[in-house]
């Protein structure tokens, strides 16, 4: 009997909510302006879309209590709350201090941007114009008590500015990746974000920081390669080093695990409430694995990619150069393979180089094939080079490397004068470079990275010096 009565009351409430949803202010999601929201935060008194509701739910019930308009049960008290607030009133309070140039995330925003915005808006209350933080203002008290609160004159909070940076960075994030030239800015900013989030958003942090890390790895690899090859071919080794750069950068996306953002020093002193959020949650979130290491119960099906990436990670920067292994003869040409398989390509390339040094032409052909595995276009080029110059082993090496150096068009050109082995070779190479207009464009981008990778260009007459990562950081500050 009681249940039936509740059911009827709930249905009446939902009918009223449907009317509320038809008003102009509630036709869009309060946070991302998506049309036709179907979810509501009962204590904030706003209507939100499904995407935002997921993020609101993760804030905890002390900040936002999410209910579905149609799927949940409603009571008159909750309805009263919704009636008294609404999207417009709530936003006039929570977004009062929103910078005029600020672009609110829209329905196309990715989850990370949206989460940052919502967390800033409701959890940290960055856009609320008043002094002090926290306190208990749920939706109702906020609605009535806005104007009695003391104002803080002008200026946006530190975190607001940082959030804007965040947004712009996100725009970079999709298209950028390996070849972006602005190495310095990114380095700083990535780290900055890592600290700001305190590891709460694990995926992003790891990704960013691993970009930095990958760069250091590259240096290490270049060292190893160059040292090994110096005796044979002199300065032409820089080519091979660049090859490794290219490949490792590709593998950056894979190398996501096992990196602790907090281990990096903080370049900028953060406000205490950002560096140490009040909740004790975020400090422990960097543990990717479960706490109890002894229990080997976990056989997640997705753990294979993780183990692949672990093989790649080499955090011991002082390790000696790895001795070359026997070239793998199992060549798989699969340009369509997913990025996780880059580990295979990477190994192949390292081995290929040895093959060039030590063995004969037919194997070089095979090498060209493998190197081109990443760029199918260049397969033909590598083959042709070897075919044109069957006698020059040394040049054959460079030729074979050309497909790899596509990403580094600049370096190829730069290396040519150094390789005085034969001008005929250079001539033979030029048409190749011309043919690769696309890759030249990439070379431009790489040139931006040159100062970062000390192993690349500047030291032409010797093996590049290895710089420990912390020294690099000091340069950037």
């Amino acid at each position: 009997m009681q249940g039936q009565k509740d059911e009827k009351v709930s249905q009446a409430c939902i009918a009223y909510l449907e009317d509320l949803l038809k008003t102009e202010e509630n036709k869009q999601c309060a946070d991302c302006n998506t049309k036709a929201p179907r979810w509501a935060s009962t204590n904030l008194g706003i209507f939100i879309c499904m995407k935002c509701s997921g993020i609101h739910r993760s804030l905890g019930v002390h900040i936002s209590k999410v209910r579905s308009v149609s799927l949940d049960k409603w009571t008159p008290e909750l309805l009263e709350n919704m009636k008294s607030m609404g999207n417009k009133k709530s936003n006039s309070y929570y977004e009062e201090c929103l910078p005029p140039s600020f672009r609110k995330p829209d329905s196309n925003a990715d989850a990370y941007t949206l989460e940052q915005f919502i967390r800033g808006k409701y959890e940290r209350k960055e856009f609320v114009r008043r002094e002090g933080g926290g306190g208990s203002n749920n939706g109702r008290s906020a609605g009535t008590g806005i104007h009695s609160l003391p104002r803080r004159g002008g200026g946006f909070s530190e975190t607001t500015k940082r959030f804007e940076q965040n947004g712009s960075h996100n725009n970079n994030y999709n298209g950028r990746n390996e070849y972006n030239g602005g190495g310095r800015n990114e380095y700083g900013r990535n780290e900055y974000e890592g600290d700001m989030n305190n590891g709460r958003h694990n995926n992003r942090n790891e990704y960013n920081n691993n970009n930095n890390n990958g760069r250091n790895d590259n240096n290490h690899n270049n060292n190893g390669r160059n040292e090994y090859n110096r005796g044979d071919y002199g300065h032409s080794n820089n080519n091979s080093g660049n090859n490794n750069n290219h490949n490792n950068n590709n593998n950056n996306a894979v190398r996501k695990q096992n990196f602790n953002p907090n281990s990096l020093p903080m370049p900028v002193s953060l406000p205490s409430h950002i560096a140490n959020p009040s909740s004790n949650v975020s400090k422990n979130t960097n543990n990717n694995r479960l706490l109890d290491e002894d229990i080997q119960w976990h056989e997640a099906p997705s753990s294979t990619s993780a183990s692949n990436s672990k093989q790649l990670v080499d955090f011991d920067f002082n390790a000696p150069a790895q001795p070359p292994t026997q070239p793998k003869q199992s060549f798989i040409f699969d340009p369509l393979s997913d990025p996780n398989n880059n580990t295979f390509n990477n190994n192949n390339n390292n081995n290929n180089f040895n093959g060039f040094n030590n063995t004969t032409m037919p194997i070089n052909n095979g090498m060209g094939m493998n190197n081109g595995g990443m760029m199918p276009m260049n397969n033909g080029m590598g083959m042709n080079n070897v075919g044109m110059m069957p006698t020059n082993n040394g040049m054959g090496m460079n030729n074979g490397m050309m497909p790899l150096n596509n990403g580094m068009g600049m370096n190829n050109g730069g290396m040519m004068p150094l390789n005085n082995n034969g001008m005929g070779m250079n001539g033979g190479m030029m048409p190749m470079n011309n043919g690769m207009g696309m890759n030249n464009g990439m070379g431009m981008n790489n040139s931006g990275m040159m100062p970062l990778n000390n192993a690349c260009c500047p030291q032409k007459h010797g093996p590049p010096k290895y710089q420990p990562p912390y020294q690099q950081q000091q340069q950037y500050e």
């Binding site: 709930s10 979810w39 499904m50 995407k51 509701s53 997921g54 993020i55 739910r57 993760s58 905890g60 019930v61 002390h62 209590k65 999410v66 209910r67 579905s68 149609s70 799927l71 949940d72 049960k73 989850a111 989460e115 694990n202 995926n203 909740s279 004790n280 949650v281 422990n284 979130t285 543990n287 990717n288 694995r289 479960l290 706490l291 109890d292 229990i295 119960w297 976990h298 056989e299 997640a300 099906p301 997705s302 753990s303």
Partner: protein, 192 residues
Amino acid sequence: MFLFDWINAFLNWLGFLKNEGSLIIVGLGNAGKTTFLSIISHDILKAHMPTLRPHQDSFTLKNIHFNAWDLGGQQNLRKLWRDYVTTDSNDIVIFVVDSNDRDLLGEAKSELHDVLQYSGSRPVLIIGSKQDIKSCMTRDELIQGLDIGDYVTGLTTAPKIVDVLVCSNVTRRGLPQIMNWITKCFEIAYIK
């Protein structure tokens, strides 16, 4: 068939046999069901959207392969629970409670007692999630608030495995104990 049982037990002890089990994860909306499942099966922590339709995931603990069903927790979706819980298989029911939401504890209590009724002899594990937030309820408070003291201490008439464990999906505290509980409970209830 004493011999057959003995061989089975021996193979199982060696880990050669794969046992199939299923987990039915239920609980009120925003309790942390989907997050719990995504962490134990994929180790992914993110803010999930509300689960509107049941979704399945699988993972392996020791030599038991679990199919886990994650059901939505909104009012209108709760009528699905009965269909999943009462299917005839080796399933363990997991009822997730948000241990911070004291307002909804009464609602959770009534739903939980329904589940305890129609789950029959199947084991039920109650998980108090979100223990990382300071103002959370402890295990004892949950037992008291959900009124399941009789079940936990085994004072009910029909034998039934019921327990309450607390965890935090964010800090991963308490999850290994839950995994241990699930495997042990499965062995006790279905493997012998």
